[in-house]
């Protein structure tokens, strides 16, 4: 639920009142602000600053050099390939689910919404494990797969499936409330004017939801690239082959290669920062308030 709420709502009108500009309320005010800032500084700002401080601990050159490691490059490549497959699939799913749920009234709708949200409530470890149980050596299809020499677990398909499982609600849950709020009037008008279904979607619906869609895609992408628990279970941690960026961070960190670990971490942190920037830009376009 967290990311679906708009940030940056303005504070309520705080006009002074008689008898209110006394020291206790001023004290409470400053105490609250100070506590808030201290809490965020310790929990958020210090760790993020550490990422960059550690990555640059041996200078900018060492930082750049750390990316020359073939294993690191392989991890980045694998992450990009995974995201390139998972994100479009999730986008198509999200659009289809949002269209079905937001545009129509049917029985079992709330059950469907709950099921779509399910992966958010499940531990990522379990999300990975279910695929091991299906496709792993001792899993349901394990023997069959081995006989046909198809590897899913400890290989790229497993990583993609686990990532898909974990990230697939994001586009849908960004779009459903938006499309519900926008209503059906314009689409119905287009259909009664003779437009076909696809034309209505591309010419009427899509332009109105594009900002919400963009944020859903960006968020889905950030979660896909950063997923650790689920991927960790299915990847097998084969260096240079099945290590995504977060898994590679773990290996480098455990080898005390801090510059390398934090260098990769800094890329993912920048991605997270970019996601937040997009979120705020999207909210500033005011697509929710219309």
């Amino acid at each position: 639920m967290a990311a679906a709420l708009p940030a940056g709502a303005p504070p309520a009108d705080s006009t002074g009142r008689p008898g209110h500009d006394t020291w206790p309320s001023a004290l409470v005010r400053w105490l609250f602000i100070a506590v808030s800032l201290a809490f965020l500084a310790a929990l958020l700002i210090a760790p993020v600053a550490t990422v960059f401080a550690m990555a640059l601990a041996h200078g900018f050159e060492a930082y750049l050099t750390s990316f020359a490691d073939p294993d690191t490059l392989a991890a980045i490549r694998l992450t990009l390939i995974t995201a390139a497959v998972v994100v479009p699939v999730n986008t198509v799913f999200g659009l289809a689910a949002a269209w079905a749920i937001a545009k129509f009234e049917f029985r079992g709708k709330s059950v469907l919404i709950t099921l779509i949200d399910l992966p958010l409530a499940i531990s990522p470890v379990i999300s990975g494990m279910v695929f091991v149980l299906l496709f792993g050596l001792h899993g349901w299809f394990g023997v069959w797969l081995q006989r046909h020499d198809i590897s899913i677990i400890f290989a790229l398909p497993g990583i993609m499936l686990a990532t898909m499982f974990v990230t697939f609600p994001y586009v849908a849950r960004e779009l459903i409330p938006l499309m519900q709020q926008l209503g059906n009037d314009e689409e119905e008008a287009a259909i009664t004017l003779g437009a076909g279904g696809w034309m209505t979607f591309f010419r009427v619906t899509l332009p109105r939801i594009r900002w919400g869609l963009l944020y859903g895609v960006i968020l889905s992408n950030a979660r896909a690239m950063g997923e650790f628990g689920a991927v960790s279970v299915v990847s097998g941690h084969i260096r240079g082959l099945t290590n995504t960026m977060p898994l590679h961070i773990e290996i480098l960190y455990n080898e005390y290669n801090f510059v390398g670990a934090f260098a990769v971490a800094s890329l993912l942190t920048l991605l997270a920062g970019l996601t937040l920037v997009v979120k705020n830009l999207v909210e500033r376009t005011g697509y929710r308030g219309r």
Partner: protein, 278 residues
């Protein structure tokens, strides 16, 4: 009553069919595999796995630390949400945007960064060390990591509720003679109570399942700093799929219980806000 209300819009069959198929293939089928794998165990075997001393120790840590983290987030989340909703100060918008950072930041990154900051020689850890407080590699560290990753859930649940507390309610209380503190205690707090509980539950749900950030900062000592998801991973690494599935089912049941609680809480909150028709 038919399955759906009629509509002139096309694409219902296509989109609903695709949604249901994809959902079944990616989510429901694999989850069914989990339940079946656990179900294939003998009952006594199942009980032995899920109630072993090591498992019980991991529940204690996972659920205890998650509850503690969620409580911390309710308190600080309330302060943060209040500050963001009620006060204007330089950097407010930036802070508001930063709240979502733990949500977008990969858990592995949060994990190594928090560990570094709170380690013995870290930026903050070095000041806690002389006080005898050790955070990294203890249950405190686990709590800290869980607090970080579940923080946005608590704040974002509270913010709209606080925005919605009508200024009129406070005005009414004030004209009736209540002090600011009395108004806070008797009017504001009860009004946002459903949101507070929802925030707690959401934060708790997110924290219980967390894996990535915790394994770096926890020492991962069995019985002491080993969380349940880690125990599942250990079972998997030993190819004890059924043991892993059994623990997975326990956690899954927990997730469902939490989901149910959230739905009930939200229904409660809505009911209190329903106004009689004019």
């Amino acid at each position: 009553m038919s399955f759906r209300k009629p509509s002139v819009l096309p694409g219902f069959g296509l989109t609903l069919g695709f949604t249901t198929f994809f959902l079944s293939a990616i989510v429901l089928l694999p989850l069914a595999a989990l339940v079946l794998a656990a179900g294939s165990m003998h009952w006594s075997e199942f009980v032995a796995v899920v109630s072993s001393a090591r498992a019980l120790g991991s529940y204690r840590l996972s659920f205890g630390a998650s509850a503690l983290a969620a409580s911390i987030n309710v308190v600080f989340g309330f302060i943060l949400a209040w500050t963001l909703v009620r006060y204007e100060f330089p950097g407010r918008k930036l802070i508001d945007a930063l709240i979502d950072l733990p949500f977008a930041l990969p858990t592995a990154v949060s994990g190594i960064a928090l560990t570094t900051v709170f380690a013995q020689h870290g930026w903050i850890g070095r000041y806690l060390e002389p006080l005898g407080v050790r955070i990294a590699y203890t249950w405190l560290g686990v709590t800290l990591a869980l607090t970080l990753i579940s923080m946005p859930f608590a704040v974002r649940a509270l913010q709209p509720a606080l925005l919605e507390v009508q200024r009129d309610l406070e005005d009414a209380a004030e004209t009736l003679g209540a002090t600011r503190f009395y108004t806070f205690r008797r009017v504001i707090l009860p009004t946002v109570l459903p949101a507070l509980l929802t925030g707690f539950t959401l934060a708790f749900a997110r924290a219980v399942g967390e894996y990535g950030s915790v394994i770096f900062i926890a020492g991962n000592l069995p019985m002491k700093t080993e969380i349940t998801p880690l125990l599942i991973v250990i079972h998997l690494e030993q190819f004890d799929y059924r043991g892993a599935a059994a623990l997975g089912v326990v956690m899954l049941l927990m997730s469902f219980a939490v989901l149910l609680t959230i739905n009930l809480l939200q229904a409660w909150g809505r009911r209190r806000h329903v106004r009689a028709a004019h």
